[in-house]
């Protein structure tokens, strides 16, 4: 899955018509393998909560960055930071998807589980050290 920009050859200048929406939202009829809306919400919520907490605990570098910029225009720094965060999570998600294509599901699950365990342990170690 690559994310190339729309590579439609623009030969004639006809800007009035926006390119046809390829990405029409999937209708709500349940395909067997597609997650339901509720499942998606669950995935969203668990991802959100965990990463939010992890980031809050890890806010130091951001805080220092913002403090340093606060004198001037903090919202510009915030915009840049927010864009960067979108970019890093996009990279992360795409990397995960790429790995999923090349590694067997079971191996992937085990390594993802181990990775999460390691992060959990690192956080606990942080708490104990501080």
């Amino acid at each position: 899955m690559t994310i190339s920009p729309l590579s439609a050859p623009v030969s004639t200048p006809q800007p009035a018509e926006p390119s046809a929406p390829d990405l029409t939202p999937i209708p709500s009829q349940p395909l067997s393998s597609k997650p339901t809306w509720k499942e998606e919400l669950g995935i969203f919520a668990s991802t959100f909560i965990t990463i939010f907490l992890a980031e809050l605990g890890d806010k130091t570098q951001l805080t220092t960055l913002f403090m340093s910029a606060q004198s001037d225009t903090p919202w510009i720094v915030f915009t840049g930071a927010a864009l960067a965060l979108v970019a890093t999570s996009l990279v992360g998600v795409l990397l995960g998807r790429w790995l999923a294509k090349h590694i067997s599901p079971r191996t992937l699950e085990i390594s993802a589980g181990l990775l999460l365990l390691v992060m959990s342990a690192l956080l606990v170690a942080d708490v104990i050290k501080s």
């Binding site: 991802t47 959100f48 992890a54 510009i76 930071a81 890093t88």
Partner: protein, 104 residues
């Protein structure tokens, strides 16, 4: 618009977040999850909200959210997800192959 500052903060945060635990979590979660979109939106929203709170509260952040407890909560969250992945595998979705999952 101060493009220099914008670029500087983008690059700084991008580099410091690259390979950080939230990105690793996004990798780990999206690899097995049936919905890329949900993982992406969840992680993006969380990161933006967290940094927004950082801007808003600055140093006061640690008063509202004691770092220690927040870290413990995050550790618990990761551990739960890890255990779910390792010991309670969700069945069919993985076997179908990724073609079944709509690209976002």
């Amino acid at each position: 618009m101060d493009w220099n500052l914008l670029g500087l903060s983008f690059v700084t945060v991008f580099i410091s977040e690259l390979g950080d635990k939230s990105q690793l979590a996004a990798i780990a979660l999206s690899g097995r999850s049936s919905s890329l979109r949900a993982v992406f939106l969840g992680s993006t929203a969380a990161l933006i909200l967290a940094s927004f709170l950082g801007v808003l509260l600055g140093d006061g952040l640690s008063q509202f959210f004691p770092t220690r407890w927040v870290k413990i909560a995050a550790a618990l969250g990761f551990a739960v997800m890890a255990i779910r992945l390792l010991f309670f595998r969700e069945n069919e979705v993985d076997e179908l192959g990724d073609e079944a999952i709509a690209p976002e």
